[in-house]
């Protein structure tokens, strides 16, 4: 009884530490991004920015190249979403519905592609891109982001589709639907919230991706690549504002898609 209690306390201590590990930097960035130029150097920090000021953010957004880069980031993310959904969602559906030989191996292979560090792959990829003449271009960067996003797209959509009972599809087929009609009229409407979540996840992944963006672009930088490139020469308030700007969409999206990420390895119907 006592041992159980102690392990429970330790679990909570661990959880709190991990939460702080994530939340303190976020808090630091958020507070600083909305402080005045002087307020950034205040110590100890107030819990909320005091006085609240949008100066830092507007200074950042007004800086050269920031808005065009942000625009490119959005374009790259959208192309990534389109391509990875078109390729990934059918794979996810197949994983969820069909009990084919080697399914578990396939699943594992998908995950293991994430085990190859992009850092190691980046040089050969950059060389290949330059040889093909497709470097420094939003479309080819989106292609790279697709490669990074696909494993997640496949796994998340497969858990989404697995959440739609097979019976519903079969019922539709007995009621006069072809398999495609059953998918369009029954499965898709029910899977839509989950698919939207998968889409948001892909957006965040592309929006935050730094390394491939730095390697593969030079003049047409995405926002994270731009910020990294200017890291050494930019003032502190610019860094905080940039950090917050990159962080904000992910934070909002994570709230929406949390429950789908939890079911990433969710049940798979027969």
């Amino acid at each position: 009884m006592k041992g159980l209690k102690l392990s429970r306390v330790l679990t909570y201590v661990g959880a709190v530490l991990m939460a702080l590990w994530i939340l303190v930097p976020i808090w630091l960035i958020a507070v600083s991004a909305f402080s005045t130029r002087q307020g950034i150097f205040d110590f100890p920090k107030a819990l909320l920015p005091n006085p609240f000021s949008a100066d830092t953010m507007s200074f950042f957004l007004g800086a050269t190249n920031v808005l065009p880069s942000a625009g490119r980031s959005v374009v790259v993310a959208i192309i990534t979403i389109v391509i990875s959904s078109v390729i990934g969602a059918p794979a996810g559906y197949a994983l969820a519905r069909f009990n084919f030989r080697g399914r578990d191996v396939f699943r594992l292979v998908i995950v293991s592609t994430r085990a190859f560090p992009i850092v190691i792959l980046s040089i050969p990829i950059a060389v290949a891109y330059i040889q093909l003449g497709i470097n420094d271009n939003v479309f080819s960067l989106a292609l790279m982001h697709c490669a990074l996003a696909l494993p997640f797209t496949v796994l998340v959509t497969s858990s989404v589709f697995a959440g739609v009972p097979r019976d519903l599809e079969e019922a539709a087929e007995t009621l006069g639907c072809s398999p495609l009609q059953a998918f369009m009229r029954v499965v898709l409407p029910l899977a839509l919230p989950g698919l939207a979540a998968a889409t948001l996840f892909t957006f965040v992944l592309s929006w935050n991706e730094v390394f491939a963006s730095v390697i593969l672009t030079s003049r047409n930088r995405t926002l994270p690549a731009l910020l990294v490139a200017q890291l050494d020469e930019s003032p502190l308030n610019y860094k905080y504002a940039g950090g917050f700007f990159l962080l904000a969409p992910s934070m909002v999206f994570m709230l929406f898609i949390r429950k789908y990420l939890f079911t990433l390895w969710g049940r798979v119907s027969r």
Binding site: L168, T174, L175, G176, C177
Partner: protein
Amino acid sequence: MAEIQLNHIIKSYGKARATNDVSLTIKDKEFMVLLGPSGCGKTTLLRAIAGLEAIDSGTVTIGGRDVTNVPPRFRDIAMVFQSYAVFPHLTVWDNIAFGLRMKKLPDTEVKKRVEMSAEMLRITDYLQRFPAQLSGGQRQRVAVARALAMPSGVLLMGEPLSNLDALLRLDMRAELKKLLRDAGATTVYVTHDQVEALSLGDRIAVMKQGVILQCDSPLRVYDHPVDKFVGGFIGNPPMNFLRAAGLAAIGLIAPPGYDLVGIRAENLDSFTSPMSGALEASILVVEPLGSHNLITAKVGDEFIKVNTRAELMPEPGSKLWLKPMPDKVRWLK
């Protein structure tokens, strides 16, 4: 006309045969119950008729047309699923109309059929609701209404009542029986509940391990089981089985080749004093059930269950003399 013919249906999952060379003819407008324990192949057979399961070999014929390789939507069937499979994103109205619209019936016909089958199942008040706003029993009604609305000659039902609680199941069973008789479709009904099978079916096909052991009217299946499994599976309590040799003493001689006797609990006359032609039994348990008492007793080293009239209330440990009704004794191999 929607006669269903199953010819030598074989379906394997890996090494296991879910149905092992099953042949069955279900007559037009007949109510056929497929009964058996889980894993006996009854659901596989139903899904083979629906076209949801590709069979390894054999043919399925509906209304004289070979539909073995025809997809479900062209098979002239409607189906009710155990999980109800009501579409959660559609209202009850749209659920019932779903199949009719897929069949491109004119709007007036769709409306007429939806309203008719909603009325039959008494869900007219819920037509504009979504399934999430309904109870399990109401969803079940929607599922049945959706199937009955379809202009199909064959109605397939896969354990439709097994997710309902006991009381609701009893009500729904009686209601289904009336509805389905009125609907006049050829019905194939899968269940593992022998009471459901007895109460609903024109005929019952008892299945075990992928084969049909017996296919007969409910009374015949109950009264004349072909083997120990059927007798034990149908009826509550299950049929009693005694070694045939033990009955020679009371003048019941087994025909050659039969070594088992089956006798139902209600087919034994019980006496509290010795009788000629009666087996001596020692009482183990007495369960008063209101209308009658169920007594578990031991004859020699074999257990036997007996129904006695409610007034007869012997003490456990005392003796009882049991006389099998001669015309109810079933000799089995």
